[in-house]
């Protein structure tokens, strides 16, 4: 009912959708971007895109899943726009990741852990591990090979595993 009204462009229906899905959307945006302000921008962009394209939603997939895909794709589009600032070379990317993530302070939860990854690696981890994207889909989205996405994922997870283990033991020592 709400969806049908939203497809007719009713603002009240859009507001209802916002109430239901904005938290999940913001959570995903925060994981993808690692920054609150960027996450807000992404939610803003995703909802605008949803309001423009909801007419094309045919109900084949649940609305929540469709909207998560839309948000993730909007996140990748934003990342592509900043592509010149993101180093896409896998080795350089992972070297930077190692250097940036050595400080354990502030790793209080999974989201804080994710925020330690460079944008590209974080997006690969979030999309593959949490959103169910395949390596083939990631390859197409990022314009890279599947082996590139597999390599980034494996090395990022290894790094996150080490950081989480260290953070856990550091917090136990502190206690």
């Amino acid at each position: 009912m709400t969806l049908a009204r939203a497809q007719r462009g009713e603002m009240v229906a859009f507001e209802e959708i916002y109430r239901r899905y904005s938290r999940a959307c913001f959570q995903l945006a925060l994981r993808l971007t690692g920054q609150r302000q960027s996450a807000e921008d992404l939610v803003h962009e995703a909802f605008l895109k949803m309001m423009d394209t909801i007419g094309s939603y045919r109900g084949e997939a649940p609305f929540g899943a469709w909207f998560r895909r839309l948000t993730a794709n909007a996140g990748i589009d934003a990342m592509r726009r900043q592509w010149h600032r993101v180093n896409a070379d896998a080795d350089v990317l992972l070297e930077n990741m190692t250097a940036a993530a050595s400080d354990l302070a502030g790793i209080v939860d999974a989201d804080a852990l994710l925020a330690r990854l460079p944008p590209h690696a974080r997006a690969v981890v979030v999309l593959h591990e949490l959103e169910g994207y395949t390596h083939a889909e990631l390859a197409a989205l990022f314009g890279q090979s599947e082996s590139y996405s597999k390599s980034i994922l494996a090395r990022a997870l290894k790094r996150l595993h080490g950081l989480a283990a260290n953070a856990t033991s550091a917090s136990q020592v502190a206690l």
Partner: protein, 156 residues
């Protein structure tokens, strides 16, 4: 020994759960709604402007076609008029003597007919031909006037 593949959920399980405080700021929806309404208005204006533009173009085209038709179609069909006058002239009896005025008109008519023939031979446009037919009509008018005066019964 085979190493177990790592998964983010397993790694995250080592850490406390993320707090549920990750919520968008309260003013985000009003901002989104305002941007959406603004874009919607812009799109509507663009559609209106496009419609007005198309309408204006259609009017301009129609006007141009009408003006062109007016320019190419003479208000008076001088050719038809000249032919009608010639028939009237043929219907009058031939005068016994030729008036000087009639002689002048006849000789100019002959020259004009030559010019008309030349113009038709070179495929002249209606715009070129029309003044010639107009002149021919005027000459025939004059000739008719003279002939009619010549054929009036003389009151004794």
């Amino acid at each position: 020994m085979n190493e177990q593949p790592l998964h983010f959920r397993d790694i995250a399980a080592q850490l406390p759960a993320s707090p549920a405080t990750h919520v968008p700021p309260p003013d985000l929806w009003p901002r989104i709604a305002a941007t959406h309404m603004s874009r919607r208005r812009q799109r509507r204006w663009r559609r209106v402007a496009a419609s007005v533009g198309i309408g204006a173009l259609a009017v301009a085209l129609a006007l141009a076609v009408t003006l062109r038709q007016r320019a190419t179609t003479p208000a008076i069909d001088w050719q038809a008029r000249a032919q009608a006058l010639e028939m009237q002239l043929d219907a009058l009896p031939l005068p016994a003597t030729s008036e000087p005025m009639a002689q002048l008109a006849e000789s100019e008519l002959a020259r004009l007919d030559q010019r008309l023939q030349t113009a038709y031979d070179r495929g002249a446009s209606r715009l070129d031909l029309d003044p010639l037919w107009q002149r021919r009509s005027e000459l025939l008018d004059a000739l008719l006037l003279v002939r009619r005066q010549q054929t009036l019964p003389v009151r004794i």
